[in-house]
Amino acid sequence: MVEAVNSSLGKMLLEEVSPVVMVLCTPLVEETFLKNGLSFVETLKPFCNFSNIDVPVRTSGDQLYRLKKFTLRLFNASDIKQPNVEVAKQRLEHVITQAGEKVFHDLESDPPQITDILSNPESEIAPTWFQYYNKELIRTLSFSDHEAFDHPVACLLVASSKDEEPLNKFVDLFNTNRLPSLLNDGVMDPKILKHFLLVHDNQDATTERTSKVLSEMRSTFGNNECNLLCTNSSKEGNVEHQANPWASFKSSVPAEKLGFALTGDDIGEIKDLMQEFASRHIIPYMEQKVRDLNQQISATRKGLRNQIKNLWWRKGKDDVPDSTKGSIYTFSSTESQIRILGDYAFMLHDYELALSSYRLISTDYKLDKAWKHYAGVQEMMGLAYFISDQSIKEAEYCMENAFSTYMKLGKSGFQNATRCGLWWAEMLKARDQYKEAASVYFRICGEEPLHAAVMLEQASYCFVLTKPAMLHKYGFHLVLSGDHYKICDQVNHAIRTYRSAISVYESTTWSHIKDHVYFHIGQWYAIVGMNDVAVRNMLRVLDCGNQSKSTQEIFLRDFFDIVKKTGMKHEVVGLRLPVINMSSLQVIYEDHRTYASQASALVEESIWQSLEDDIIPSLNSGKSNWLELQSKLLPKKYKESNVCVVGESVKLDLEFRNPLLISTSVTSVSLICELTANSDDLKLDKEPSSLSLETEHNQVTTSGLSSFTLSEVDFTLGGGEKKLVRLTVTPSEEGILKIVGVRWELSGSIVGVHYFQSVPTKAKTNKAKRKNKLTPTDALKFLVIKSLPRLEGSIDHLPDKLYAGDLRYLVLELKNNSESPIKNLKMKISHPRFVNPESHEEELTPGFPDCLKKGPEQNTVQRETSRTSVFAFPKDVSLQGDRSLRWPLWLRAAIPGTMSLYFTIYYEMENVSSIMKYRTLRMHYSLQVLPSLETSFEITPSPSRLQEFLVRMDIVNRANSDAFEIHQLSTVGCRWGISLLQPVDTILPSKSILPGQGLSCFFMIKDCRKPGIEEEKTTSILPSQTDTKLITQDDDEKFFDIVNSPLASFHESERSCHGTSDQLSPNTVDFILISRLAKSSNPSAEQDLLKILSHHSCHNRIRSSIPLSWSLDGPKTMYHDFSTSFCEIKLKMVIRNTSDGFLSVSINTIDGLPDAAAPTPSSGNLSGWRYVPAITEEMKLTSDVMGSRLGKPPPSMESSPPFIWSGSSSTKVQIQPLSTTEIPLQVSVFSPGTYSLSTYELVWELFEHENASSATSGTCQGYPYYITVLQSE
């Protein structure tokens, strides 16, 4: 802590609370001194501060002490008055403006760093002009009526020796009429020390006259009170002072011009004069006055008696209503006398005496409610406590008291409060209580903005000085101060404060604060015309996504206004509008892999790789060759770098996001690229750095030279919108291409640049893998190789939505635009079930749906199905130039769902010596397949016919909106002939199956295989027998050909998809149902009418587990004369082995009733003969309804009249595979009636070979077979 006297407040007090000398001088004196560019007072001013005057002083006590430092304040008599408030204000404003102009040039530099601020020495933190300002501010209060330290102590009367009658002049000068009003109206004591000075101008006055006048003066005014001052000794007037003493007092004039006529002797004389004046005259005079006053006051006010008297007297004065006005105290009143005593003692540094008199007077003022006087005294007490290093608490208490009392006075007291506050703050600062000082500054802000701004700024500097520094507060107060400066148009200062504040807020994430500070400082920079700095600051607020929409609009509007003012296109690195999402960066380039569309480029590489596995040259043979080639052609360094081809664009997808709520237009988005020729590989190692610099700079010219071309994209981003933008660069020369960054124009006025170096690196830092690691910049570096043929391919009219089973004819169009031919084309399709290439290039002659129909010449069966999914184009296919290859493809939507179809086409280049021998074209399409008709088949053996089976087909329309017509059902292969049991028209009069509708149809299929005859012979049945038309609307329509190319091959793939372990089982039937969209279902979709859907159902098994079928043949009705004999009926059982194994069947006939259906189990012993209770009735009945009896025998009859199986009761036969055996059977019937001949069973055993031991076996009950025997007439 600094000693109180040496603190800044101490110095200030020494300067401000010091004796005032009133100067009265004649015009000629002024004239003399104006030769030096200075007035008289100004000339003397530098010599009024005495740092070591060393005068012994004795005031009240007996103790003598020596004054060391002393100051006099010189004022022209005309200045001794209370300053005009308005003038003072203007002067203060002037001070600030001047200071503002001084700082102007610093504003362009970068804002100071917070660490710099903190490391600055204390004195440098606040600008120096603050002290000056504070002084000026305090001076606005000089000569106030409630204080005495501004009262003139002495009067200096000055006349020139050139004056006419100088003695009279002296008398005139001190004429009461010309004295300041304060002296006249009784506020100040007019009886003061007078001192007379005669000025002698060495340039134009004669010494004789001067000495004559001087002696006259001495005789008139007394010897001691008169002095002579010789001046302007330099005749030429060109004296230059090394350290000009006036420089610091008068700054408006260049320092060299001041006092040029004064020689060193002159200055010495002035110095001596002032020193003598102070030590010989003023101090003794004051001493004397203090002693006198002290005596007088002790007599009237000290002692108990006087105190009581005083109190009583004051009480009586309470009635005076106007006591607060303060003007009641004239200089001669006791109170003023005490005050004067205090102030004089203060000025003579006798603080004890000063304090005691202040204390005495303060109670008086308090009782009188003379608040202003009271506060003034309190203020002085505080200062006295401080400077005498007494109780800090007391000092602070007094200041606080004074301050609040002044504040209570309202507006009139505010200025005083300000001064008090300034002193108080200084006091706190001297005690290192910066925080408290700051709050004092804050309290004296007041309402006037300029004043407040200065005070707030001072407060902010206090916060820096606190330990630890309170930087948040510092910033906040600076901002407040800046706002106030702005209000009174002190833009320079506003910028200065904000600039300092930025150092605090630079790294903050408090968005509102940041936006506010940067936006305003930007605006203000624009006001003072530093547009580029303004733009730089405004850039920081562009990413103001958290602000309200209107704020954002204001921000942007102002920003663009300023940018426009600068009149040039700024290039800003790291512009935050729009925001670039670096993680979205995706580079799409084509080396040997080429892509047909963007969608295919985005497909994962692994999918393609697995697809291409078996068509690209295999790893072992191919790669070694390839590597070898590569190592020859490429420098090792670039082995890992990406390869692209001249003339083929490298695409880069990048997401731009608008952080704002308002839409912004972004134009001319393009990549920044460098293309360096790799003519000399060795050089490249060193060159890139220098080269890149160069290319970066003339990026535009290089693109102008067309070593590469860039795409430009314009788009508008709505509020908060994200857009993925595709940018391309197409190299046109070989070399190394680097994508360095991206640039864009914002609203056509500012250019944003973003460099990609900051791509987050995903590469592993594994040391072992370091060699292979691709740094992010490597990923954007390409080796450009010379141009190669590139195949382009597309599939025309590939629908994206279709029904399951939909069959389409498509054309794959391949095109090679370059002149060099390509050969050896191969294609692989990810879903052979869906797509089937035609085997030869030809246009379909009959048009799409008709070509599928059976023509007379197309009957030949082509069983050429390549099981591999690789389709090799014919060897002679070679593409070149403009010719395009149109290759037919069949598409069939096999299963419902969303499907991704991947096509990859491999091709090799002819006659190109390049590192690339082959390329692949990748195509990707996705299909949405909707469910349509769903079929299921159930096949059961026909009970009546061997080799015939009943088929029930259930169709359900699963589509949402469309109806279908079923057209044709075919069996696949030549084994099964199919026929319709019942015309579908009768079941389905509408002819189309509506959505959700189900339908069952019945068919009969017939096994056309012949036993023992091989495959080729079975084809003898007409193919048409395998198809059946379901809806007979136009009879001439031909059947669809299911044995030829598209349908058959699709069926093959269906079969292999549904393939199960028992797929070779012979008893399976494959069906193909062909349907089409119903015509009337959707009138808008006219072209859909041609659509044909094929539904394949494979491996439908016959629902029969037995390997045989049989039938019993014989007469149904017989007439026999039972009177002669019983009736023997010959029957024939035909058994067919339907399996491929060897079958042995034994037929067991059962006489009587073996089953549980016997109605009378009690009569078990009467087997064969039955009593029929209601036979007569039955006969009657039969006579009545003969017909019904024939068709449907009454149940009672079924089991009644007996018959027996005659012949062998058990026959065993062996049946060869797929062959038929006939077994004769015989029944004997004893009475007429209808009999059910189902009382037999077949026990079968099936062997796989003739001699196989393992067998499957089973038993079959006989089918019902009725025979009616009637009595013949």
Partner: protein, 126 residues
């Protein structure tokens, strides 16, 4: 009386992790930044005070004109600026947020649930 309040949770390194303007006064455009400034400035005082007292709730640590700053300091030195029971409740909410394994301590709280809860509490207590 229409009152206005700003509530901010400040994480380490003075990073705001949650902000809410609560209170019934009609919104003023510059209120948000003024509040931020005041609260930001109050951090200095809080930093001094936080280590001198063991209390979590620091009542009116700072003031600017008629705006009073109160602070609630959690054990982990995350500050809640804004009244005591309100603070306590919000503290509980905050702990719930902290327990969320997906929340990275110190990052901005973006949970809308948290936001609605805080605003509801603000209506209840302030």
């Amino acid at each position: 009386m229409a009152n206005t309040a700003c509530f901010i949770i400040v994480g380490r390194n003075d990073i705001p992790i949650y902000e809410a303007e609560v209170g019934s006064a009609p919104k003023r455009e510059d209120a948000a930044q003024l509040h931020q400034f005041i609260l930001h400035a109050a951090l200095d005082v809080v930093q001094d005070l936080a280590w001198t007292t063991s209390a979590m709730f620091l009542k009116s640590v700072d003031r600017f004109n008629d705006l009073v700053v109160s602070v609630y300091v959690t054990a982990g030195h995350i500050l809640f600026n804004g009244i005591k029971s309100f603070f306590q409740e919000v503290h509980e909410l905050y702990i719930k947020v902290l327990l969320n394994p997906l929340y990275l301590p110190g990052s901005r709280i973006t949970s809308s649930h948290f936001d609605t809860k805080v605003r509801a509490l603000a209506r209840k207590y302030l």
